[in-house]
Symmetry: C3
Subunit: 373 residues, 3 copies
Amino acid sequence: MTLPSEALIRASMTAARGMADRNTPLIFNEWYVAAFGAELDRDLLKRRILGRNLVMFRTRAGIPVALDDRCAHRSFPLSAGRLDGDTLVCGYHGFRYDAQGDCIEVPSQTRCPPGIGVRKFATAERGPLVWIWMGDARRADEARIPHQPWLSSSDWARSQGYFALAASYVTLHENLMDLTHLSFLHAGSFGTADYARAPYEAKLEEGHFTLTRRVVPTRLPPVWAQPTGILGEQAARITTSEFLSPGLHQVSAKFYDQSLPADRRHEFQIRTAHIPTPESQASTHYFIVHGRDFALEQDEVTRFMHEQLFEAFQEDVVGLTALERVLAEAGPDAYEISVASDGPAVAMRRYLKQRSDAEHAAGRGVRPEGAAG
Amino acid sequence: MTLPSEALIRASMTAARGMADRNTPLIFNEWYVAAFGAELDRDLLKRRILGRNLVMFRTRAGIPVALDDRCAHRSFPLSAGRLDGDTLVCGYHGFRYDAQGDCIEVPSQTRCPPGIGVRKFATAERGPLVWIWMGDARRADEARIPHQPWLSSSDWARSQGYFALAASYVTLHENLMDLTHLSFLHAGSFGTADYARAPYEAKLEEGHFTLTRRVVPTRLPPVWAQPTGILGEQAARITTSEFLSPGLHQVSAKFYDQSLPADRRHEFQIRTAHIPTPESQASTHYFIVHGRDFALEQDEVTRFMHEQLFEAFQEDVVGLTALERVLAEAGPDAYEISVASDGPAVAMRRYLKQRSDAEHAAGRGVRPEGAAG
Amino acid sequence: MTLPSEALIRASMTAARGMADRNTPLIFNEWYVAAFGAELDRDLLKRRILGRNLVMFRTRAGIPVALDDRCAHRSFPLSAGRLDGDTLVCGYHGFRYDAQGDCIEVPSQTRCPPGIGVRKFATAERGPLVWIWMGDARRADEARIPHQPWLSSSDWARSQGYFALAASYVTLHENLMDLTHLSFLHAGSFGTADYARAPYEAKLEEGHFTLTRRVVPTRLPPVWAQPTGILGEQAARITTSEFLSPGLHQVSAKFYDQSLPADRRHEFQIRTAHIPTPESQASTHYFIVHGRDFALEQDEVTRFMHEQLFEAFQEDVVGLTALERVLAEAGPDAYEISVASDGPAVAMRRYLKQRSDAEHAAGRGVRPEGAAG
């Protein structure tokens, strides 16, 4: 038995100190998806994001609102109260808040004391998604919301889903960045054996990391073979994993029949927005929007692909949950060894670590307003 | 948006440091209710009080006994053993204890070694309640047991109930002290909208805090309108919340038809003893005795009121459990803002904090005998 | 009430500091049973031992293998992967390990990087048991595996069972060393009232502690009365509790009809190997092998005794689980008082404490490889 090399272990442990993992404090100065727009209406939605409990709803005019889910008086969850027009009435002693989070009525006194309120968080609705900014309110710049036109374009057909993932958002990002796992974790769904061995190309830019794999020729799994009609061994499958922000990872793929001459090929495109919003350091709201640029009117194709894909994504959820348990139980001698194709994942984890360090080393601005992860 | 005022938050945080909350160590030198008398018989009752496991039973003569639920030999729970006359035999190696907690037999030896025993706690039965003293045994003065004659008087009809409350006893006391919550938490049961806005009067004495609300005129909720026959809008409802000790809060109410001349009015009285016994800092045995001074012989009135009231008390249990979860998850930036009608509650929480500080700052006497909260 | 004597409590607390309990770090440099041989085959078995997750299987040649259940790449549990011949393929990104724990394939690259591997633990199969060494690999000496020929001898008939015990292995050892508990915990199964009062003899040697009880004359419980035919009050029952190692305790008993003259007596022997393997400090894999030297061919006797005995062992599991909860909730004032017949148990706990101290005080060698208990 060759024990794992001591030098390798030491090097890995040193490298790990520069990489984000489940113990890394969360990043607050970032846009995350708080909810699908379709989830918000005139009912109160309770959701924990970045370790902080929020209550969300829409005003009568349809504007999304996100407030601290904690009455300023005696901490009762506002989500257990009720909407009255555009005001929110606490279910304990009736303190009333407007949609800005300002307290405008204390029932036991005629005049509402000034200066009472709960924090309101900036939100912005873009296509099917409602984004939220939980960090320093002065830095909430909507121009920084990742822009993906296909999410609301009529040239794409879409479906969406959600998983409550009992794992760190860091491992979800890493999962998506290294799709060699398709050949193993998804061997029975949308992975094929040749996937992990295909040539790849990585691009590392500050806060933007991509890895593209060309599997040519290959046989497509049924989820794409059937709707595209590319049934044989002569398919091309070119997939790009793309880290766009701590709150958004996008996978883009194109398929064509590479046995046809180049000028007669039709390229079919699919995209998946994988949207991890940390609930806590150890749990993640995993929103997913999947789209295609073909067979736009065919609802049965939407249903077929949705079923097939979300079954595969469920494999990720099961796998990452098992992984989270291993990491949570890790002793001080635990280590991870990276190989060449981990380049973009390692760069991404270093970036997340730097973002976290920058916020939390400062120890001001965000922390007084942010809750424990 | 007016963020909550920074000055107000700072002032609130400063004030909070002087007030008891779920993180405040429990008070041991106090009488608490250990059980309803009706719960104790010749079976062994296991119950955790102030973070300490007890075993309770009645001797053949009917005297309540409370002992540490932990054999002095190898810590086996005595509640898993059996009563043999007035002795308790451990279910592991058969060590036998008398009703004083003294070990009187070790089966593996002819002569019982001297000086072995488990701690016995002072108990006192008063009406339907069995009180216990868990603190410094030398200070267990029965004269300090809160005296409420109505609890055993034949001039009152009573019913009783119990909730295992997953919340701090401090928040239960505060809930009871600020009954403006009747208009909101109990809007569907015994609260009415005008309750929270009614004039009130507070009285703050050392360890004795009251708040009286006069809701006149009002409409009584069915629980009282029906048995008293005061059905219209012309009722008077005068309620006093009264903190009597860390282990007892009493609510007294009277009702009359204020449309009648003063000399023709009949006053109906109800009382509720709300009895919080901390199981731990985060959980509470919530005993309740409710009584009335009218319709004494009518069991169907007892049943009707019991059902209605305990449904409402269940709303408190649900609400306080939700509140406990918020408080348990609170980040370092959490704060609570008090308003005028919180005066007695704030004074009460300061009193509990001083009592706790006095015991635990001393760091002796109680702690060596008391277990972790 | 005589409170437990202060002097006695102080003496007990002082003594306790030298004795192992549930808070004592586990001992790594020892052979423990990892599994019954019958549990291991070509499926992957996941098991946590000494706070460390292992994956176990047999090679095609039948050799037991135990590896760290954590891929060296991204920590995925190898037990969620699959066997391919004598190699283990990770279910996440397909890293392949041989039966030595060496990584021999990384799918995304042509050449496997050198020096990657997971730790393999020494194992040794003896009769029905597979032993494992989790400590310093250089000290894994098979000669130190406790040798018990009856476990594989054809002169004995055997049956075996397993309990997942939610309690410390220390309390299990102590339970076995002090069989006075048979008269109480097992009053309804294989205990009799006279057992606890019988004369006993203790032998204390370094790492080897025995206590022998002679219950003569007595009535055997049905589990032995029936198969031996010794039905009256004239039985002899001589039982030895024997601590052989932190991972093995053996109980040996013989029975005969003492009303017969010595030269006409037949001695019936039974033995039970009680095999505690710590899963963590607070939980134990409790393997049991029971054997007899009579009625070897009679399967119905095996079935009858197995049912009776494992019902009694289940009483230990229930009792020790209740005890563990008491110990886990213990406050700083908790104490245990020992009596004369606890001598071997106390010596055994001192021995375990010294073994643990010796390993963990050193703070090197074992800890870097061992995980948190």
